[in-house]
């Protein structure tokens, strides 16, 4: 299976661990991700906050590049996905033909065919790993853009974790906002939102959170030491990418190297579970 791949800017930078795990999983699953040539930044929150025209035009350029190639396009970042979907909707509303589908990477890899493939290739079930799935905002919201069937209570990541042999726990905060867009300008606000997510995850019995977006990952991983200091409580909650867990369960040899790039080190937990 071959798709166009829109990695987005942060996968070339701080989210290089996510990028590596995606390449690893694609290889394991026989998925060819052909990077969209000459793709540009989608403009993210900055564009839709200050420049509506740019917020439309930037993803449209990417979409046109993808349409020229003709393959469906997949994005691993919630915001990039959301902007590309918005672009596709805008084109369709203008009566232009949209010949491809825009996929969110998690949605793609939890299609029945991939779940079956993962089941067959499983070599190290993640037995005993207690996790909550954290989807964040923009993969699912607003459904008029994302076409999410269940924006308030998505379940595809839980389904995946169950296939991997882990124990996905139920909680009410899986689509609550972590405030990532405000992380630089108003870290005090995100500390409050993120701390509540930690507390709720712990209350649900989780040992880690699993995410499908590098902004959520960064926003839950990077400030954990600061939030712990302020709270007077040592949070030690690894924030794992779903792709890292797929690769781990499928026996990819490079998983420990990716995990070593997190700030909250997931290796002690996974070692204690006999998974590393």
């Amino acid at each position: 299976m071959k798709l166009s791949y829109y990695p987005g800017c942060s996968l070339e930078g701080t989210a290089s661990d996510y990028a590596a795990s995606i390449a690893g999983v694609a290889e394991l699953l026989g998925l060819t991700l052909a990077e969209l040539p000459d793709w540009n930044c989608c403009g993210a929150s900055a564009a839709h906050s200050l420049d509506e025209q740019a917020a439309r035009a930037l993803p449209l350029r990417n979409l046109r590049l993808a349409q020229r190639i003709g393959l469906d396009v997949v994005a691993p970042c919630a915001l990039c996905f959301n902007r590309l979907k918005a672009g596709a909707k805008a084109l369709a509303a203008r009566g232009e033909a949209v010949t491809l589908r825009v996929w969110d990477l998690l949605d793609l890899l939890t299609q029945p065919a991939f779940l079956r493939l993962i089941t067959h290739r499983l070599v190290r079930p993640l037995t005993g790993l207690q996790a909550v799935c954290y989807y964040g905002c923009l993969v699912n919201r607003p459904p008029a853009i994302t076409d999410a069937a269940s924006p308030e209570n998505p379940g595809n990541m839980e389904k995946l974790l169950a296939v991997l042999g882990a124990t996905p726990l139920d909680w009410s905060f899986k689509t609550d906002c972590c405030g990532a867009g405000l992380a630089v300008a108003r870290p005090d606000l995100i500390d409050r939102l993120v701390r509540r997510l930690y507390d709720r995850a712990l209350r649900a019995g989780a040992e880690c959170l699993v995410v499908s977006c590098q902004m959520c990952q960064a926003n839950l991983d990077l400030p954990q030491a600061r939030i712990s200091r302020q709270a007077g409580q040592a949070y030690d909650l690894p924030i794992l990418y779903f792709t890292e867990l797929i690769a781990l369960a499928l026996g990819h040899p490079e998983v420990p190297q990716w995990l070593a790039r997190h700030l909250v080190d997931p290796r002690p937990l996974l070692t204690a579970k006999g998974l590393l």
């Binding site: 839709h48 906050s49 509506e52 905002c137 630089v184």
Partner: protein, 187 residues
């Protein structure tokens, strides 16, 4: 007489932008689900109400639009299909386009730095460049250094560097860099 900041056209201007607000019946579902309402001076339902009342100056100067995280919870849940998050964006854009003073200059300046970084960086975002542009803006970095509030940020940056996650080299300059710069000409 309406108050002096009354603009009859506000709701009409929003409607033209695809952001009609007149169906709001003040159920407050938007505000009840808003994760950032604790930091706002006007809850989202009042933003919509004031938009209907034409209170443009109050809205363009409020804190709410800047601490809104664009999480889209309100837009998803509004029973009347009002794009509340879209209204927040529209107000932010207007406030900046008109050069008004805003109560959260940090948020505004971060967005500006981001767009400038994409434009000057050749079409993709360089994370170190956006941080540098943001830090330099208004001497923010110096002020922070004086308060030694930058220590945490420097520590995080060093942790990322140690893990080879800070890419200091600029991103690839796109063949379409000119197209992107034209889209972002205002920044």
């Amino acid at each position: 007489m309406p108050p002096s900041d009354f603009t009859e056209d506000l709701a009409a201007a929003l409607a033209t932008a695809g952001l009609a607000v007149d169906a709001c019946y003040q159920c407050r579902k938007c505000s009840n689900g808003c994760p950032l309402v604790f930091a706002m001076d006007l809850p989202p339902d009042q933003v919509i109400r004031l938009a209907l009342a034409g209170r443009e100056a109050d809205l363009l100067g409020c804190r709410t639009i800047w601490v809104c995280s664009s999480c889209e919870t309100c837009t998803t849940r509004c029973p009347n299909g009002i794009d509340i998050a879209g209204v927040m964006d529209w107000l932010k854009e207007q406030a900046v386009a008109r050069g008004l003073a805003v109560p959260e200059p940090e948020v505004r300046d971060f967005h500006r730095a981001f767009l400038s970084a994409v434009k000057w960086g050749g079409g993709r975002l360089s994370e170190p460049l956006v941080m540098a542009l943001y830090a330099l803006k208004g001497g923010r970095w110096l002020k922070k250094l004086r308060r030694s509030a930058a220590a945490g940020e420097v520590a995080t940056a060093l942790e990322l560097l140690r893990r080879r996650r800070l890419r200091l080299a600029p991103p690839k300059r796109l063949t379409g860099a000119g197209e992107v710069a034209a889209i972002l000409r205002r920044w």
